[in-house]
Symmetry: C2
């Protein structure tokens, strides 16, 4: 009933705790423990079902073998995907993950990172939200290893793993252009965050390079606090105008889902009346009457890279890595074909 500790094994066998520790940590050879004792100790550990107290161990060796993960919102597909990938890679490297979600709230971000630090995580993987630069600088100052993922601040010199958002948006628009579209709208979130601004930039540059008209009313920004309410007022005027766009490009999976619902409600046919292209993917796209063409972030690779980078940092302190990944492309049937 009571927990078995090192001392119990030592007493059971009749040796000191040091010997037990050596044997159970695989240092039997190195520390020249007699075969006889080593054997007895191993047997006793099994017999008593000894589970080492990691808390005590962590305190002593000053390593918890734990990674703190802070995501922006566990509801995002990105978050679950990246969490899975990070968990998997962490397990491979023998790390445990503690995670939390900030719901895009700056104070929660600060609080969560502080909690994780006080729990002595060996390092952090962070999806920082708007206005979290200060806390990032503070972490940097404190010397704890961390890597940003998905989002970063170009003005702060940190390790990060991110997508080439500019190119992904640029390529997506180019795809629509190649399919013959001339009036392309882009719906994005209204935000200061660099990674989403890069999508704007990619969209605009692609239009320019292809010598297409770029109208301010075609580049739409919604706040995103309550998408299901915000998408209608954004979409309706767009579709009611005389020369309405012939393609809509959406910056996130959630934007796309809400837009599709709205298009359904308005009786607009995809891709007959308008082509739809999504930046991110969603499980729901498959059940839409025409599978939605979309970009895909290499979540597995990004998660793996983040963990590997972090573990290197933890062991090393030295390296500096800024990794950029390219988005994939999943053709569906939601875009008019040439």
């Amino acid at each position: 009933m009571k927990k078995v500790v090192l001392k119990d094994i030592a007493q059971h066998v009749g040796v000191s705790t040091a010997l037990v520790s050596y044997v159970l940590n695989g240092q039997a050879e190195e520390k020249q423990v007699s075969k006889e004792n080593a054997e007895k100790i191993k047997l006793a550990a099994i017999e008593l079902n000894y589970q080492p107290n990691q808390v005590a161990k962590s305190l002593r060796i000053r390593k918890t073998h734990t990674i703190g993960l802070v995501v922006a919102d566990i509801n995002y597909r990105f978050s679950t995907g990246i969490t899975r990938a990070i968990e998997a890679e962490a397990k491979r490297l023998n790390f445990t993950v503690i995670f939390g979600s900030t719901n895009e709230n700056r104070d929660k971000f600060t609080e969560l990172t502080n909690v994780l630090v006080s729990r002595q995580v060996d390092g952090l993987i962070l999806v920082p939200g708007e206005d979290s630069q200060e806390q990032i600088l503070h972490l940097q100052n404190s010397g704890i290893p961390f890597v940003l993922i998905d989002r970063y601040f170009p003005e702060i010199d940190t390790n990060y793993v991110a997508l080439d958002n500019y190119k992904a948006a640029y390529d997506a628009v180019s795809y629509l252009v190649a399919a013959g579209h001339k009036r392309i709208s882009f719906i994005n979130l209204k935000t200061d965050m660099f990674h989403l601004q890069e999508r704007d930039r990619g969209y605009l540059d692609a239009l320019k390079d292809h010598h297409l008209e770029s109208r301010p009313e075609w580049l739409i920004h919604v706040k995103g606090d309550d998408l299901s309410k915000e998408i209608e007022p954004a979409l309706k005027p767009l579709l009611n105008s005389a020369d309405k766009p012939d393609a809509i490009f959406l910056a996130t999976d959630r934007l796309t889902i809400e837009a599709l619902k709205q298009l359904n409600a308005l009786g607009v046919k995809v891709p007959g009346d308008v082509s739809v292209l999504s930046f991110d993917e969603s499980d729901a796209f498959d059940l839409f009457y025409c599978p939605v063409t979309h970009g895909r972030q290499p979540l597995e690779e990004m998660g793996e890279a983040a963990v590997k980078t972090l573990v290197n940092l933890i062991n090393n302190q030295k390296i500096k890595k800024k990794l950029t990944f390219q988005a994939g492309f999943v053709p569906g049937k939601s875009c008019r074909e040439t």
Copy 2:
């Protein structure tokens, strides 16, 4: 750069660590610390940005304020939903959650629970898989508080939080009957797990009570290892038979999604050719050409109840709770109306 510890504050102020500990733990009054010192200590803690080492604290007080959560598969909608709910309630009660996914694998279940125990979690919330009775008994024996969620073993006397699966299935079938359906098929997973067998039982009892025909070939069990491959051979013969069912009831959200894809591929119209009713919900249902009628598990309430029960157990040791929740019902358009 180096971490600030209690001793640093003590030295900075010129008192012993005991005083610092008392003050920072809000025992200043109780331990009659002079106001002057209390003030100085608080200030120093802020000035030096002291973050207590939870690992050391945990070791000393023998409490980590951490809950271990083991889910069956983080890909399930149930898992993400319940994880969110548990996280939220845990945070409210000042607990941290460490979680892991077993991918329905018994050995991983054993390993994960052992890892969590050795990390000294104060208690466990578990979604046990098939054949995990032995480990459950073992945990029970070891005295660590735990509560099962979603699934449980009627033959083992444990705390649990679960859905009334029998009634939910019974009611769903009754709904179809009320809509005039006479040939109702049920597709479930092939499993020994009690909660899914209860759904079978609910289906069969409802048919009997409504004096409807119950054919063995209408109660289908698929293994579920690779649904996208298994659903076609299950569905095709069903739909090709002369007197095919007029309604299909599916036991999980993933079964429903695969079935819908398959129905699309076969050109079967919902609800024109066949009604579709899902036990669980999915975000994807909204994008299907007709929103899918489905049951809904009260994940928030269940998660909250699980955490509350567990925390009571942790503080108390005594209570025994078997909580059963009723499923909700979300009408869509995928069932023929009367």
